[in-house]
Amino acid sequence: MEKTIYLDNNATTRVDDTVAGEMLKYFTEEYGNPSSLYSIGAKARTVVEDARKRVAVLLNCEPRDVFFTGSGTESDNLAIKGVARRYKNKGTHIITTAIEHHAVLKSVEQLSKEGFTYDIARVGEDGIVDIEHLKSLIKPDTILISVMYANNETGAIQPIEEIGKIAKERGIYFHTDAVQGAGKLSLNVKELNVDLLSLSGHKFHAPKGVGILYKRTGINPTPLLSGGHQELAVRPSTENVPYIAGIASALEIAYRDIEVHREKQSALKKRLKAGLLKNIDKVVVNTPEKSVFNTLNVSFVGIEGESILFTLDSFGIAVSTGSACTSGSLEPSHVIMAMGRDHTTCHGSVRFSLSKYTTEEEIDYTIERVRETVEKIRKISPYK
């Protein structure tokens, strides 16, 4: 097969053709600076503010509470550090979970060097946060709780509404990293009971390098950057007009057809899971029932993920793994480990993440190639 079978959509996605086409004119034709007063600048301002309104409709919030940032990582940083630093007089304790993205975990670690303290809530074997444990970590000086909406490695959906309610009752700010929920789950911030929510464009067919931060009216995060007045001075930098137009359109497209995507991708995921379990021995499923419809994470016992990844790559199939051997730091995935899996299982974990472009033929071809791959690599392994 010539074409790549791209099953790593939780890492990044291909940009939607409509989105790419729409963005182009803001590079070469309507390239004004939104802060300039003449027509071409005013036009750019309209594009940015229109994008903000379109996002606000999808999030069910006020446009002025939507900020455009440079990435999901930046949104997470701005939410966590911005709120902690602004409201440190109210308290200095933060709670997050064991399965967060490094953008969240490292932000909290950074704050711990600035006089904040933090606790990490456990997850169960299903990779879903243990609410009782999280509740037990709340202290009188807890100001912020940050829990992701869906996990990037397992797809496990976290009980955001419930945690939001707990936080609200106690007057604690609540942030969710919703990067992996976009286009898959409702982003209605009122129903979700969230005060802050982070998104990243490249996970839903917008380009890399653009993010969104929602914050509830009245919350005023301390900026990460010093600069001009853009984005109400919360995120100074000349607005990235093409990318802002792109992320808004991509989000609209994702939700316009969400039922179609859900139906199709759920069926493909089910087919993939059934195919792998039927054709291969000793497969551990790491993705719980309660998960986003595009993600399936499994472990092939006795083999190491990097060797699976490279073998599948030679067949044109792109997947990712939580194996220690691919992490640079040689630490296995903190997410799979937090679920209480042993080292060996973690080593053989492989994530398949689908998109609207995934086809049934691709899934069938993948099942067959994975079967061959696992068989071949198990022959080499001392664990059979």
Partner: protein, 130 residues
């Protein structure tokens, strides 16, 4: 990320599998990432006439196992002990820095197999004396 030689050895590794009646077996683990390697050797007149491996590890670990076993086959025990992981990595066309430890594992596997062989020989000699 990997050289062509590494990928060739990874895709078609040489000397794979468990050995019947080996003269020595070396089992080593990688403390850094938790991987494992088992090396089997057959020795006749101080020469390693056959060698096989089983590896649970990454592309670099599998390729290093394959290359190392190729390099010591037909060599004397002393020659085999002289082989370093650097020789193996060089022969593989280099390894990324974070993957050098995977070739160390192969070197250690060989050393452990030879040690096991020597221990077995010693035991045999002792038994003969009694």
């Amino acid at each position: 990320m990997y050289s062509q030689t590494v990928m060739d050895h990874f895709r078609n590794p040489h000397n794979v599998g468990k050995m019947e009646n080996p003269s020595g077996v070396g089992k080593v683990g990688n403390p850094q990432c938790g991987d494992e390697m088992v090396i089997y050797i057959k020795v006749e007149n101080n020469v390693i006439v056959d060698v096989t491996f089983e590896t649970f590890g990454c592309v670099a670990a599998i390729a290093s196992s394959s290359m190392t076993t190729d390099m010591i086959k037909g060599k004397t025990i002393e020659e085999a002990l002289g082989l370093s992981n650097k020789d193996v990595a060089d022969k593989l066309g280099g390894l990324p820095p974070v993957k050098m430890h995977c070739s160390v594992l192969a070197e250690e596997g060989i050393k452990a197999a030879i040690e096991d062989y020597r221990k077995r020989e010693e035991e045999k000699n002792n038994e003969q004396k009694i």
